[in-house]
């Protein structure tokens, strides 16, 4: 069997405090993969720190696009360089590199096109976010599960792996702003096989979350609107 080309996409915005440890953590795994840091127009030294580590390709975006635009840049990179698998791994230190194997496995075995690492499939699996956030996550679970007729417990998880088919699709159609829950609908609706696997996550070690305070109300409304609209749109991928 030809070894698969695997790319790790790390979206990073002002994560100079975390990025070095994240890269070190990734580097110490005994799986072969390339690392791409998408520096999303950071105003701190995220790009330089990542570059100096010598462990990653670094794409510096000239302006801040938000997480969706950053991750999509990674998909475009993966498509251009002909990667077989890409997985998203957040640059804020909340994902554990030891979980990568778990999310890659269903793709390697061709049991899924998309794998989502879920915090909620196991009881007591580490940090599960704050109470108010879990309410939001529960709402997404209900809405998305009804709409795509498959139970997805962790719609906001950023720890995800994609096969070549999904990479090609998302490099053209990945949602912007707050893409994770929308992507679930988009992929489910277009016939991609989604599999969830249990993972552990940690509380972020530094930097700031992109969603907080008033922003979270806006986030919920915006994402729910986007989910419904995505559901009502015609399929892009034809059978």
């Amino acid at each position: 069997m030809i070894p698969m080309k695997i790319l790790s996409i790390i979206p990073a915005y002002n994560e100079s405090a975390n990025i070095e440890n994240v890269l070190k953590d990734l580097y110490n795994q005994n799986i072969e993969f390339d690392v791409l840091v998408v520096n999303d127009g950071s105003v701190d030294k995220t790009g330089e720190v990542a570059e100096a580590s010598g462990k990653a390709y670094v794409v510096n975006l000239p302006c801040n696009l938000g997480i969706g635009g950053g991750v999509q840049t990674g998909f475009k990179f993966a498509k251009q360089k002909n990667y077989d698998i890409a997985f998203q791994f957040d640059g804020d230190g909340q994902h554990k590199a030891s979980e990568i194997k778990i999310i890659l496995e269903p793709i390697i075995k061709n049991q899924a096109d998309v794998v989502i690492g879920s915090r909620f499939l196991m009881k007591n699996s580490g940090f599960q976010s704050t109470f108010s956030r879990r309410i939001g996550i529960k709402i997404f679970e209900m809405v998305n599960s009804i709409l795509i007729k498959q139970k997805i417990t962790d719609n906001t998880s950023g720890l995800r792996a994609y096969n070549k088919k999904a990479i090609g699709f998302l490099s053209d159609f990945y949602p912007l702003d707050y893409p994770e829950p929308e992507a679930v609908i988009l992929l489910g609706k277009n016939g991609f096989r989604i599999v969830e696997v249990p993972v552990m996550m940690q509380e972020r070690k530094g930097g700031r979350s992109s969603i907080s305070g008033f922003g979270s109300v806006y986030y919920m409304i915006k994402v729910l609107l986007a989910i419904f609209v995505n559901y009502l749109r015609p399929r892009i991928v034809k059978e």
Binding site: V38, Y57, V58, V59, N60, L61, P62, C63, L65, G69, Q72, T73, K76, F77, Q80, L176
Partner: protein
């Protein structure tokens, strides 16, 4: 001394205003300051206002149709609808632009990466 409402003067002013608006839009297009595709809505509403100022009964008929007693209120309604559509049109244009902008930023980032890699390779040669 009470002056009666001067219908003729009002008509002239309305006519002058609408003609000026239309000419101004044409001039902007001619000077390439306004793209044709973004000017269509403005021209459309400019022509409606020209029509309303020439044909005074038009306003009367319009207010009857929508059931407004006071014809100028119908005029305000027409104005608000016009503004509403033009603003909505701008939201669409902004959305299109921001999508294209995103693509350009992504491609620029990827190109800068390729350039960086090429420079590295040249140095090693």
């Amino acid at each position: 001394m009470e002056e009666p409402v001067n219908i003729a003067r009002m008509t002239y002013i309305a006519l002058l205003g609408s003609v000026f608006l239309l000419l101004f839009i044409f001039e902007l297009i001619r000077k390439n300051k306004l793209k044709e595709r973004y000017s269509l809505l403005w021209l459309f509403f400019g022509i409606i206002f020209l029509f309303l100022s020439l044909y005074r009964d038009g306003l009367e008929i319009m207010s009857n149709i929508i059931g407004v007693d006071y014809p100028p209120a119908a005029l305000f309604l027409a104005l608000i609808i016009a503004m509403f559509f033009i603003l909505l049109h701008y939201s669409i244009v902004v959305s299109e632009l921001s999508e294209k902008n995103t693509t350009v930023i992504q491609e620029l980032g990827l190109l800068k990466f390729e350039l960086k890699e090429l420079k590295k390779q040249i140095k090693q040669m």
